[in-house]
Amino acid sequence: MENEQMTAEKLLDIKDLAIEYHTDEAVIYAVNHVSLSINKGETVGLVGETGAGKTSIARCILGILPIPPAKVISGEISYYGKDLLKYSEREMRKIRGNKIAMIFQDPMTALNPIETVGFQIAETIKQHNKISPAEAYQRTCDMLELVGISAERFKDFPHQFSGGMKQRVVIAMALACNPELLLADEPTTALDVTIQAQVLEMMLSLKEKFQTSVVMITHDLGLVAGFCDKVAVVYAGEIVESGTVEDIYDRANHPYTLGLFASLPKLNATEKRLKPIKGLMPDPTNLPDGCRFYERCPDAKDECSKSSPQEVEIAPGHTVKCFFAGGK
């Protein structure tokens, strides 16, 4: 296993990425110097609360940040040794939907309501492949069947599908060109648990079949446990802890990660009260100077408010951004 990881080929390497949103009132520091790498065939979970910057990272990879107000301040996203951030829009269009695809959070709004689902899937296929309309039709039907929707529904409109089915259509569209990297932004948040289980099971089998790398953006730690190989915990635009799922679930070290796990209601719990993390995430327009988690941290010391901690590798591949990383 270890050996496999050593030799695994890097697909995407994000270095020192910083994204700001400039509005009339203030500058929002959404992503603050994030580094993350994704290997071929690997699933990386990006976990964090609302407003932590998870979606901004994914949108930046795909080059669909709303610029302005968004602004990429620094960093590079290297994909096969080339920096995606330097690609022109024309070059990016060849990659988007073809090599890198995204599943959006809300299937109700991700589809065009006035085109049939078949047309929308075929559109992606035709955009990136030189094939005849008949072939495109055939591939669209195959994709629909693959995600468990009968090909007879090619000519149905999005409103004729239920939420779970719509999400399958969105997934079919994302997978239509057999991308190398799939960015899944809360793909099951809008779905019921039983439908979520169906969609996840399907994504797992498709992932294995096509050896797709996946970045799974979610706030659900339960979902990550069953789906991901690696996890990066995002807080206030920074990755505060990252490692394999075993590192995070068995040997979590950052106080924020520990707090997240403690605040979850457990199915086998006996205690009568939950243990919330006190306070709120800092305002991204006005981030504190020192450690971003200082105000909420149960183990904070004076030095934490003065300077920002560096990332420390406490075990191979397991990094923690805390002054007291590794020790307790």
Partner: protein
Amino acid sequence: MPALLQVKDLKKYFKTNRGMLHAVDGINFSLEAGKTLGVVGESGCGKSTLGRTILHLLDPTDGQIFFEGNDITNPGKKELHKLREEMQIIFQDPYSSLDPRKSVSEAIMEPLKIQGVLSKEEMRAEVMDLMETVGLAARYENTFPHELDGGRRQRIGIARALSLKPKFIVCDEPVSALDVSIQAQVINLMLDLQEKRGLAYMFVTHDLSVVKYISDDIMVMYLGQMVEMAPADELFRDTRHPYTQALLSAIPIPDIHNQTKRILLHGELTSPINPDPGCRFVARCRYAAEGCPQMQTLEECSPRHFVACCRYKELEEIDITE
């Protein structure tokens, strides 16, 4: 002593172009003071409609509702006004359930104003009291909802619901719009309030780990009907109905060593419009058999544990994990 709330064969149908939509179809339960009934089910199963029908935000089609022993199924205008003091609701979405043009104190004061018993000064004192109770600092008195985060907004919703000192509160997915670290804060607040004020909650949610945590009894609904009801621990330990089994197995568990095998349901909810008599789960059930299309009756399989499945006794023999 009669139960605080008793619901008998409650039905709520909606008229649609394609026929009658059976949103709530024959629900029975009773709830005692200071206890919590969790109601779980998928979207569209009628759990919110049930809560709203009990509160008379919707008029019941059939059945009876008793509150403290009195029949409140068809209250008069005055009686309803009085009932509103006793029964309140906390809404799901703290973003859309608050009037954007009312400040925090105005929002919390509104029910008191309508009640019209207290003087202006008394109301203000009461509002400050309530804000303290739900953990909103006094400096937020004149801020507006858009200036606050979801957790604080939901605290306003809770303060509003508490303002008339009700005995029973319907909590309609009160924490599902909140992040986990904030969710835990709000749940703890609700538990504290229940302890201090002896509130009874009907906690409507689709989040099964939250409901296990907060409930005394849990009711599982499927397409307007109750399929299983049991004390919280027992429901998870001794699950009888095939739907409940599938539902519980689908909860993602934040633990990499104890991943349970998911029971995958095929298909989705069938239409609640003019449903066939008989088991509504039959199309998705792994154990569907010949007898199933008949009307299911609720049976008490052990004390306080009810299940509506004609095959539950046979199913005990089958290993559900296979």
